[in-house]
């Protein structure tokens, strides 16, 4: 069976150019960058070139502002704990729709005596910058608001939020794991103090990420026992992976205009096609302020995992914010935060498109998906067939004669 991958927000394949750049540093140039001999120096030089490339890719002022981590989650942890443990402030602000790496970390801080404010979002998943302003207190140590949401794809107004933080003298961190390499990022133009990213979201390797930390910001290390990363993150550096990540990022940025066109065309065609073919569905996230490859839709009366399993049987790989994918009962905090009821949240599926998707992939999805939804609705005790395809969007549905 031809398999169609539509889960690029979960991870992406390593691109060939990045792998080629990595190979020598997995084999002959294997030295530890901390070693003084030729092997060490060779590795160190390549690693520092990669760091400089990453710094330049995100518009950082200096390569020393990049701390390499093992993944995006580690970068988020380092940013949050690192700042809060350094500056002695008691209050942290984040949003209700952060990735678990941020929101669960903030919850742990709150258990350990810090105070947390979770800024709610509107129905599209947007954070209101004024709500952030109003939440800032004299003892606020950090504001952490994500750049692009991993589930619903909404892109937050982080430039505006960063401006408010600067005005108020509060540090601003953003989790850019879903956006770096996909939409333009210049840390200085945005005004971010800290920014997290992960290599495998832009066709680099898994197990490598990084944190931009503006010069002058101090950070309590969370991994100790070595002087690596300017004493901010101990441990022998993953040289080959750093090189692979830098290469993948460089190419992602060079290809971004074409890539964005490619993805938004496919995305919008997929959304339009699904709306034409399947009644009673709802697009989650913002209609325009959204990641180029993100399609998140709720299919009323059916449950997400059943949809995923049927899609998978047809060779289509997607993911779901439904609780049943993990066996817990609560659906995703993001879908609840944008105001979906439980039933609708349980019936949501995310398709995240990437570089290697084609028009034919979209055709295939549009061909098989309506049948899958119809089959599961037929099976659902919640489903009441109506002749009105747009019932949920209609203010008159209560009195509509077509609907009756």
């Amino acid at each position: 069976m031809d398999r169609i991958y539509m889960d690029y927000s979960a991870t992406s394949p390593l691109r060939k150019e990045a792998l080629d750049a990595m190979m020598p540093y997995l084999t002959e140039n294997f030295g530890n960058p901390s070693s003084i001999h030729w092997f060490g120096r060779t590795a160190k030089k390549a690693m520092e070139e990669a760091r400089a490339s990453i710094a330049s890719s995100i518009g950082a002022a200096d390569p020393s502002e990049i701390i390499i981590t093992s993944c995006g989650s580690e970068a988020d942890n380092l940013a949050i704990w690192g700042v809060m443990e350094t500056y002695g402030k008691k209050h942290i602000i984040t949003s209700a729709i952060e990735h678990h790496a941020v929101i669960d970390t903030v919850k742990i801080l709150a258990k350990e005596g810090y105070e947390a404010t979770y800024i709610p979002v509107d129905e599209y998943g947007l954070v209101d910058p004024e709500a952030v302003r109003n939440a800032i207190r004299p003892d606020t140590g950090l504001v952490s608001i994500m750049h692009g949401n991993n589930e619903i794809g909404t892109i937050e107004p982080i430039g505006e939020i960063a401006g408010i933080c600067k005005e108020k003298g509060v540090l601003f961190h953003t989790d850019a794991v879903q956006t770096l390499g996909h939409i333009p990022i210049n840390v200085q133009a945005i005004g971010a103090d800290l920014l997290s990213f992960a290599g495998h979201k832009f066709y680099g390797p898994k197990g490598i990420g990084g944190l931009y930390v503006r010069k002058g910001i101090r950070l309590e290390p969370q991994l100790t026992g070595g002087a690596q990363e300017r004493k901010r993150r101990a441990g022998t550096e993953n040289v080959a992976y750093i090189i692979g990540m830098a290469k993948a990022l460089e190419l992602a940025i060079a290809e971004m205009p074409d890539e964005t066109r490619h993805l938004t065309t496919l995305r919008d065609r997929l959304i339009k096609g699904l709306f034409e073919r399947i009644p009673e569905i709802k697009l989650n996230g913002h209609p325009t302020k959204r990641l180029p490859g993100n399609v998140n839709i709720s299919y009323k009366y059916v449950e997400g995992e059943s949809l995923l399993l049927h899609l998978d049987m047809n060779g289509i790989a997607a993911s779901s914010g439904s609780a049943c994918t993990s066996g817990s009962l609560e659906p995703s905090h993001v879908l609840m935060a944008i105001g979906l009821n439980h039933e609708t949240a349980h019936g949501s599926v995310r398709m995240s498109l990437g570089k290697y998707n084609t028009e034919q992939d979209i055709d295939k999805v549009l061909e098989v998906y309506p049948g899958i939804v119809a089959k599961l609705r037929e099976m659902s005790p919640l489903y009441v067939k109506t002749t009105c395809a747009r019932k949920e969007f209609c203010d008159e549905s209560g009195t509509c004669s077509v609907n009756k």
């Binding site: 678990h100 049987m313 439904s322 817990s328 349980h346 005790p381």
Partner: protein
């Protein structure tokens, strides 16, 4: 994560639908949990002559409902009351641990349908009092962590 038997029932659900003017209807679960099962039964001479299901839920929820209708077809009310959710999971070749509680409710739904039947037809099956058929629906009090990262 699912056995071939589960996948088979998900792909080709048995006895899917609803019996019109059913002798008994049992429904369990709620939309908050993401699982709702409705089982309808037709009873003749103390035997389950027909069983159908409708389910909103994950793969495990659908497969357990489907296999219950197959397992209990033609069985007596007493046999059906002896069925447990655990039996159902075993018949499917096992379920992932995290699904054992949250989606494995088909036997309960069937018991509720039988209770409904016996309440409407008191004394229909000798020695079975519907008041003694107790299905604990602690489902909506259950709190779990959210679904993890996607």
């Amino acid at each position: 994560m699912y056995t071939d038997i589960v996948m088979d029932h998900l792909t080709n659900p048995r006895n899917m639908g609803e019996i019109e003017n059913a002798d008994g209807i049992g429904q369990i679960g709620n939309p908050v949990c993401g699982d709702i099962m409705r089982i309808t039964i037709r009873v003749k001479d103390g035997v389950l002559e027909d069983i159908k299901f409708k389910t909103f839920g994950c793969g495990a929820a659908i497969a357990t409902s489907s296999i219950v209708t197959q397992m209990m077809h033609g069985k007596t009310i007493k046999e059906a009351l002896a069925l447990t959710n655990k039996h159902v999971a075993e018949e499917l070749g096992g379920l992932p641990t995290n699904k054992l509680h949250c989606s494995n409710l088909a036997a309960d739904a069937l018991h509720l349908a039988i209770k409904d039947y016996l309440t409407k037809n008191p004394g229909a099956v000798e020695g079975v009092d519907p008041a003694n058929i107790i299905v604990k629906d602690d489902h909506d009090e259950e709190q779990g962590p959210s679904c993890g990262s996607i």
